[in-house]
Assembly symmetry: none
Homo-oligomer: 199 residues x 4
């Protein structure tokens, strides 16, 4: 197994899938652009579906899990960590990335009704994100950073949903302004969850 070739296949397909979706990705073309042959491709991946699963597990999953883990950090105000997360999402986006949308969201919309294998893998990622947020909030409540009446799970769900929603909307407007407005309002909402101790 030449891990390098495999990795190149994975990454190139991820980029193309980000724009064209899974079904819109033409394995043939990507193979040609990579300068390899179909034989090589099918040496590393059973079929197109397997490749799709690998992209979700090896590229997209780690990407998001790492981001949201910061919220479940061991100490300090989790709401501040959350705000940092939201701001980093908001800030780092050049226009062209915004217009392609969030890779995770894209795949969810496209593939979850069509293929259980995709749906299950994408679901796990989302639940990990939710879980990170939830654990952070729960600790925040215990340590007095977050108001007691906050329902950690429900809020976690809402946070993830709203973030993805903001992304999706920004995509169609091809402008970060929409994204920033939605995120700013979300940050305001997050602050409203706090007791004030964190400041």
């Amino acid at each position: 197994m030449n891990q390098d070739t495999r990795q190149r296949i994975l990454e190139k397909n991820f980029v193309v899938m980000h724009k064209h979706g899974f079904q819109g990705t033409r394995a043939d073309k990507v193979v040609k652009e990579l300068g390899i042959t179909k034989g090589a491709f099918y040496h590393y991946f059973e079929n197109k579906l397997t490749l799709g699963y690998a992209i979700v597990e090896e590229i997209i999953g780690p990407m998001y899990q790492q981001l949201w883990q910061a919220v479940a950090q061991e100490s300090g105000d989790p709401l501040l960590a959350l705000e940092r997360l939201l701001r980093s999402i908001m800030a780092q986006q050049p226009m062209e990335k915004v217009s392609l949308g969030c890779p995770l969201n894209n795949l969810i919309q496209e593939m979850s009704p069509l293929d259980e294998g995709f749906r299950l893998r994408l679901q796990r990622i989302l639940e990990d994100m939710k879980h990170s947020a939830q654990r952070g909030l729960e600790r925040g409540i215990r340590e007095g950073y977050v108001r007691e009446e906050v329902q950690a799970e429900q809020v976690a769900v809402f946070l993830v949903a709203s973030t993805e929603g903001a992304f999706g909307m920004a995509k169609v407007l091809k402008s970060p302004v929409f994204l920033e407005q939605a995120m700013e309002e979300l940050i305001g909402y997050v602050r409203g969850l706090g007791t004030g101790k964190g400041n």
Copy 2:
């Protein structure tokens, strides 16, 4: 123009597109299932793209514009109207519809980076929705239903984004629970915008 045949093509394709996306919709198959021929299809639509545009303009657009217009109603508490809207979205969903996601959101994620014609048409719908929400909120502020410091446009953006986001997330979980949690939290947020006059 036999509007009936045209309408049947439109509606059937809308249903299929809802599940398979625009690219995933096989015009041939749909034509067969309708019991018509390609001759008939291409009599009414230049090509697949034109059909797609027509679905956005004639089916999806009106659907959402009508829903959100209720928020821009002439009198009464707009926050209550908003809550009614959110609850109706939340309530009416049988499981299978949830797992297909919101048709508008689906198309945005799939097509806006690929085709300007789609993007522009989808953008208009979203902006109409935002506009309805914004007008409702502005009247709410004038009439004392909504707190003065609320930034109507930013909140409108946030509402639309969060709603779509909740939908998208529910889709991957194939369960309305997630949707309900996110919506419940959103409703809580909406209530927080009020002065209390509406109750």
Copy 3:
């Protein structure tokens, strides 16, 4: 019978066929460009083939018969008439016409192996042309303009063939130079047939 509509269909199709050939002519498109409907078209012509036959008989045939008839004129030197004919063919050609070739030749090459109806009609035209040349030459011999050993029929065949050949070649070169060279040589050959009486 509105002869005007029929004539417009005929002429427009002739122009398109000149460039795209009979098979390459898309009846649908021409109909659209004429601003009429298929109903009108099929009122005047049974089908595409019938239209093709009509174009040959009513447009192409008369065009060439008229040209070559001059050679079979009643009096004077037929070789001079021939030279005038060749020069007129050579002179009147703007570049774009040259590159489309001779409508008669085009149809012969395309359709005669494929359809007997076409072949027979095109054959008649060619034989008329040959006949005109032959009659002119025969009279020329009788009246002392043309050398006695000239085989009128054989020369007539050769004249028609060479003219069409020169056209065909000029077409691929997209330049009248080739056409002029071949025609000039042909004119030289024609002069060589004379006794000198005509000058």
Copy 4:
């Protein structure tokens, strides 16, 4: 590259194209008759156009270049070589080939106004033919076989054009008689170019 399969595709398509023209050739049908599949076809040729170019370059071109090269031979009377060429063209034709016409001429009439790629490739072949004739004639003049006042280039053009023209006419008459008459007259003309040394 399995040259055998590729070659079979090339040759079969050449035969079909000879009768039906390029546009009239149905790639699918030919593929079926060859007992291969569409996949195989598109493995060897990007698309139909590329196949057409390959047929011109690899089959038609060599065919004619070889024939006319004999005229540009190193020694002896070029007019005799020419006569041999014309007689061989005339003689070898069974009726069915005559009625299909000359493959080169057919393609010129059909494709040169429609596609530059075709036109350029066909032009090169014609110019090669002309060049061979011209070189032969020029040597003939130098060595005293051909009369000095003969304009080699103009005559070369005329020869090629007349040959192709004779072919085209024979095609529509579906009889070699026409071809033979025209060729016989052309041979007479060629003899008239000589000084008499060659005999």
